[in-house]
Symmetry: C2
Subunit: 313 residues, 2 copies
């Protein structure tokens, strides 16, 4: 029996860092560990280094390190241009730091791209070579695979799928621009919609709730709360406008929806799909189009980064 390659995969999030040790022929890590990104009085970078060192103790022979990071990555140089949620990283030369420390040049990619890659190879996108992956939670992110090619853009900045103007002078986005998809269809948008209408005097069973979230609003909607249903309807409608745009640009054979808001069931899906149908240029964009829910859950980034490293190193 030949020597079995070991890949250390890390999914670095704003809250947690998850690391897994994979052998070549399985998408199930044989060792996994989760820590807080900013825990133990350490910086995120120190925690990453300590975590790698710890996993190296577990398995001294590591052949590759692969990292998924929530930000804009210059993947030619392995520099994190910007990762607001990870200690405010800016122009962080992560590849050089890790490779000096451990003697292994890591691959570093955007986390939504890696989640899309994982879903493509092992999850909801299997068998499709033209894939649009959208994750709708607090914000909106996404990634695209065209004929097996994962889009990144020149400096890794082509990952901002939520920052598309679809309503001129619409509600302000977290980035400061008006009318972006993220400001209209994300969990944040759903909560903002309810707050806005409540301030205007709309009646709702959420009145006792000082800070309604997408989750509590979904619960209220399931109890029949009209305002809550309306908020999800509005978000679904705008997701349909945005994804019609993306169908015209990318013509995928499969859309994968991930993130908490996506999993609100018919409450969100029905108005979304009706709006998609309404806004699409022609029926041909929907013919044979699969729309699937993401299958890999929290493991998508970890599995994607592992598979990416396997395919590209």
């Amino acid at each position: 029996m030949g020597y079995m390659k070991t890949i250390l995969s890390l999914d670095i999030g704003g809250t947690n860092i998850r690391a897994g040790l994979f052998s070549k022929n399985s998408t199930k890590p044989f060792f996994i560990k989760k820590i807080r990104t900013s825990g133990q009085n350490c910086t995120p970078l120190e925690n990453i280094i300590n975590l790698i060192a710890e996993l190296q103790q577990e398995q001294p022979r590591i052949d590759a390190i692969s990292m998924a990071v929530p930000g804009s990555i210059d993947n030619k140089h392995g520099v994190i241009i910007k990762a607001p949620n990870v200690g405010g990283w800016k122009n962080m030369p992560l590849r050089d730091i890790i490779s000096e420390k451990f003697g292994i040049v890591p691959s570093i990619e955007n986390d939504a791209s890696m989640a899309a890659y994982g879903e493509w190879k092992h999850g909801a996108g299997r068998g499709h070579d033209y894939l649009l992956y959208m994750t709708i939670s607090t914000g909106i992110g996404g990634a695209v695979i065209d004929d097996g090619h994962l889009l990144t853009g020149f400096r890794g900045l082509g990952t901002e799928k939520g920052h598309m103007t679809i309503v001129e002078n619409g509600p302000l986005c977290s980035c400061g621009q008006p009318g972006h998809l993220e400001a209209l269809a994300s969990g944040t948008a759903i909560a903002a919609y309810v707050r806005r209408k409540m301030a205007e005097g709309a009646k709702t069973i959420l009145e006792a709730d000082p800070a309604p979230t997408a989750e509590t609003i979904a619960k209220a909607a399931r109890k029949g709360d009209a305002l809550s249903i309306e908020a999800y309807h509005d978000a679904g409608y705008y997701l349909g406008v945005g994804l019609a745009n993306y169908l015209h640009i990318f013509n995928p054979s499969c859309i994968i929806l991930g993130g908490g808001v996506s999993f609100s069931g018919e409450l969100f899906y029905e108005p979304f799909y009706a709006s998609l149908k309404q806004h699409v240029l022609s029926e041909e964009y929907l013919a044979g189009l699969e729309i699937n829910y993401a299958q890999l859950g929290d493991d998508a980034g970890l599995i994607g980064a592992y598979q990416w490293s396997l395919d590209h190193l």
Copy 2:
């Protein structure tokens, strides 16, 4: 000296069909012919077949045939799904027809994609691997190259760069949907803007003109006509909104602008660039971004199809 490959390239437009014979080492065709798409009392298809036959007389040994077609192409099967401007083609099995007739399996791609490919290899995009090509004339079309990969989409339908909603309930597009980029920034949009304002009583030196076009409006603007300047300003502004969206999605290192409206100079470019700067997520999308005018003019599609065939056959 070895045998020199000959490639027959065709650029099929709604008005004209241009055909060129190229040898392997030159982007200058050694023979070229232009005919009307629907001339000689023949259908476009008959004209294409006759033209290929004529060029075969000129050069009996043709190694490859490459075609650029203004429509949605299922390039896996060589079927034109839709080409409204070429005799209303729908599901036209062009590849099979040509290959049965001439014993050569042609490559068939979208014309904007081929123009982008030509500009990338031999024109305004040389040296860039991340390219956004936009053509702004009567309509708006475009193509994208990411890390040397030309995007097409699953069934060749991912070429509709003008059909992106950017203004909810905005002016109607030719496709029937409201607020698309094409309805706000194309030559048609500029003419519609002037007509709309004239109907509302706006003063303009165009009053004697029964049907102002983007060209006559540009001339009037250069004479200082306020309404005409405003119309170009409005179109440039919305092109900036649309291209900011595309920068966030694709992060190209080069934008190439082609088509008549693009070539209106500062009249269009200044409001466009100001709006692009205003709407972009961060300066990083503009850092090092080249914005070039298309260089190959009417030859872009022909040269692109020739080069595509050379690179892919």
